[in-house]
Symmetry: C2
Subunit: 285 residues, 2 copies
């Protein structure tokens, strides 16, 4: 049975995404940091790892991307797009505590930032305290049921701690979703077909000259290969030297994408193929 490493503790959004990987049998294993998660799969302690790659709540997504690019040699096998909704949760004795009497609200700094306007409007006088994860915020509130405290977090996590939902969907932006990547060394068997596919490449410019990036992009655009995302990340060689993380909005083909890759290499750029994979947009239920 395949195992999937994820960023714990249990009750995190990463666990919610891992549960949604469309493989019938799987065992989840939690790790404390994103480097640990990726290394687990790289060293073969788990079959796969799942990491947040864009707009995640816990941990740094920059960190996930840097480790994927520089520290491990894993391929991407699937993308999971998970809607992210924070709720406001209290311990059962506080189920009727009026909002002005809530003294403290705990959550991860990213969840607090994503709900900044809500908190200021609804709890102008509460003390907002950051925790290391949304799960830890929920745990703190659950362990102090007699205090007028609340936590922002994920519904499934709150249920696990026996908390009561006071408000659903407190985040300021209505379209809050996080992209997760399933990565590993050996492709999983039995992934179902998907409507959307993506291909991801890493391109490092051979030398920096005006128009180098434009040259790279033109190589795709005249072939009508649409890039759905481009992100520059430091190469770690020096500040201001970049590797380009490029998402193409379709699966790899036999002719056009390989030709673009080959020509970029002939022009002196480094090109690394990270995978061609299905995209699953899932519900968070």
């Amino acid at each position: 049975m395949p195992t999937i490493a994820y960023l714990g503790p249990p009750g995190s959004f990463s666990e919610a995404a891992a549960l949604k990987v469309p493989l019938p049998d799987k065992t989840l294993v939690d790790y404390p940091t994103i480097p640990d998660v990726l290394e687990a799969a790289d060293l073969g302690h788990t079959t796969f790892a799942i990491i947040p790659i864009e707009n995640a709540i816990e941990g740094s997504v920059n960190l996930a991307m840097d480790w994927l690019i520089h520290e491990v040699r894993l391929m991407i096998f699937a993308e999971i797009v998970l809607p992210i909704a924070h709720g406001l949760y209290v311990a059962p004795p506080q189920r009727e505590t009026p909002f002005p009497q809530i003294e403290k609200i705990f959550s991860h700094g990213q969840a607090i930032a994503q709900s900044f306007r809500f908190l200021r409007r609804t709890f102008p006088h509460a003390q907002v305290e950051p925790t290391l994860s949304t799960s830890e915020a929920l745990r703190l509130v659950a362990e102090n049921p007699d205090r007028p405290w609340a936590a922002l977090g994920h519904r499934r996590g709150a249920e696990r701690y026996g908390l009561v939902e006071r408000i659903r969907d407190v985040q300021d932006s209505p379209n809050n979703a996080t992209r997760f990547l399933l990565v590993g060394h050996t492709p999983p068997a039995g992934l179902p077909p998907s409507e959307r596919k993506k291909t991801t490449l890493l391109v490092t410019l051979g030398r920096d000259f005006p128009g180098a990036l434009s040259q790279v992009l033109h190589c795709f655009s005249w072939r009508a290969i649409n890039l759905s995302r481009i992100e520059s990340r430091p190469t770690k060689r020096r500040l201001g030297s970049y590797v380009f993380y490029i998402d193409i909005d379709r699966g790899v083909d036999d002719v056009l994408i390989p030709a673009a890759m080959e020509e970029l290499r002939a022009l002196g750029h480094e090109v690394r193929f990270l995978g061609s994979y299905p995209v699953y947009e899932v519900d968070d239920d």
Copy 2:
């Protein structure tokens, strides 16, 4: 006297960068989160704010960029490039404790990740515990001088807490630097001249078609305007819709950059000018 908002607590890398802003008189004010820092300057509670924008240690740089783009209307007045070095610090009674007897090492998750290999090699058996900031890790160690604990953090912060340096420069990558931006509503008087200048633009594609980004970049490249960095950030309208954060490696001129901006607007793209500003590479002493 101008005031500068920064991400606290005191002893953070953001404070080190704020101290390096080349203005003779300034008062620093610490705030608990990056949204708070930016809002302080946007609402006029402080004259300026300083935020980490790339490869920072504390907090999420994605968060800094998203707030700069979407939530405030501030201009960039300067960039400060600060070398980031983590040291390993202990309380005075532990100044000779052999490394194998160090039981716990505390630090912010980003500093831990940047020193992951060092920690595994030098302290394979120590328990590594994340804290909300490097300053908090230093404080924890200072408040428990009789325990065999250590913290990764910034030298000036460690001095403030009376800690002893056991190892300098523990980060895995030798070229670790963080870019900070000084932002505000009104340009500061008396910034010294600098060798390097930069110009920053935000471009939002009018509509998404294959080659749209290539069109935008070509508009700069044929004019020999070199882009030193391009980063795509979600527009927050929907996942997969992006605004491009573009750094040009020189100051704005009277002809070429304005013409490029005007033509991009005529082609239906949104262009926002974030500033043309000096870059200061400073020492962390």
